[in-house]
């Protein structure tokens, strides 16, 4: 498996949270809008990439018996960095994501990649893996956030972190009655299920 393969597997074959059904808590909670989904995804990319690289570098030094403790310290450090930087530069996003930023520490995807991949593979492969899974997670959250926001509020809000670029697109005009169920947590489950169903259909079509 080449580096490209390690990267692209996170975009379809092992895309979280659809294929790798991990990290559902933030997925359901923060994908109310496009911009929150995107912001959360970017935070996870940073943590996943950095923790995967560092754990891969340290994989021969860390004693197996205390490996989980070491991983948690490494991951928590990067999460706190993200939290502080987000507070300092994109405070509005920080207010929207709130408790879900510190909770990245216990996000199963990050610890899962550390334990399942980075602790057994080289630095470059781990970086590709972390980046791939992270980008996949961001894509999922962005798509999920877009669908939920479009149906639930009739808008799409885009804000690129660290810049002033910010747009709210009104999709359906004033006569639109919002499908408020989509912005509630059960709506997220159903939307997730529908998308997974769609992915399976596409997968089956490919095979046959």
């Amino acid at each position: 498996m080449g580096l490209v393969r390690e990267f692209t597997k996170g975009l379809w074959d092992e895309i979280p949270p659809f294929r790798l059904v991990l990290g559902l808590c933030p997925t359901l909670a923060v994908t109310k809008t496009l911009k929150d989904g995107l912001g959360m995804g970017l935070a996870v990319i940073f943590v996943l990439l950095c923790s995967n690289v560092l754990i891969s570098i340290l994989r021969n030094i860390i004693p197996p018996k205390v490996r989980i403790a070491c991983y948690i310290v490494v991951i928590a450090t990067f999460v706190v960095i993200v939290e502080l930087v987000m507070q300092a530069f994109t405070y509005e996003l920080y207010q929207d994501l709130g408790i879900f930023i510190p909770l990245i520490v216990v996000n199963c995807i990050v610890l899962g990649r550390a334990e399942a991949f980075a602790s057994k593979n080289g630095v470059l492969a781990s970086a590709a893996d972390g980046l791939g899974i992270g980008v996949g997670f961001t894509l999922s959250l962005t798509v999920l956030g877009s669908i939920r926001e479009a149906l639930g509020c009739g808008t799409l809000s885009l804000k690129i972190p660290f810049t002033d670029i910010s747009h709210v697109y009104n999709l359906f005009g004033p006569s639109f009655k919002p499908f408020a169920f989509m912005v509630s947590a059960p709506g997220a489950f159903i939307c997730l299920g529908m998308l997974l169903c769609l992915m399976n259909i596409i997968g089956n079509l490919k095979k046959s």
Partner: protein, 196 residues
């Protein structure tokens, strides 16, 4: 034995490096975070009590020592002169401390406005004090020498109905504000002259 020692050392070093790194990032972002909190949490309330000012009160802020604590002052410039000064005090409400922004008219020694920043009051009951315009307006124009009380206690402020404890807490916060202002008045006025 060697294995246990190695576990201690490796985990210790990782924690140490992580701690040092975080201390660095924390120090580096501290000022910026403080500014963002002022801008997004207290800023809107400060702008509300200093409505119509021509400067940016958050950018022009200064600190003064009040006893052991440092109080941040947000000056408001009107018609080219700094005539109002907003600062945050605390009063204890039903669910904990209520953050109260008091604006004082420094040329008349009166309270010109009041706003609430953070609180832990009951949603829908005490929390209404934050948005009640009549309640907030009833503080405007009171002298800083008055002991501000709600009507039930023989004062002039109309309490928010059903939220007597919260209203009392806010009054206490404003009174603390008067005390702080009186104590630091000379310093505040000399600072205010520098601001345009």
């Amino acid at each position: 034995m060697r294995e246990i020692l190695k576990m201690f050392i490796v985990l210790g070093i990782i924690c140490g490096v992580a701690g040092a790194l975080l201390a660095g990032v924390y120090t580096g972002t501290m000022d910026k975070i403080e500014y963002q909190e002022l801008k997004f949490v207290k800023g809107p309330v400060i702008m509300e009590v200093l409505q119509g000012c021509t400067n940016n009160p958050v950018d022009d802020r200064f600190k003064l020592k009040y006893g052991e604590e440092e109080v941040k002052f947000f000056p408001g410039v009107f018609n080219g002169k700094c005539t109002k000064m907003a600062f945050e005090t605390k009063g204890s409400g039903f669910g904990g401390d209520i953050g109260v922004i008091v604006a004082v008219n420094i040329s008349e020694d009166t309270i010109s406005g009041m706003g609430i920043t953070t609180h832990k009051e009951t949603p829908g009951v005490g929390s209404r004090a934050k948005d009640s315009v009549p309640f907030k307006n009833s503080f405007a124009g009171l002298s800083i020498n008055d002991d501000i009380k709600i009507k039930a206690d023989g004062g002039t402020v109309d309490a928010v109905s059903g939220a007597t404890v919260t209203s009392k807490g806010v009054c206490a916060g404003v009174n603390t504000g008067s005390t702080i202002y009186k104590e630091l008045k000379d310093q505040i006025i000399s600072k205010a002259k520098e601001i345009k």
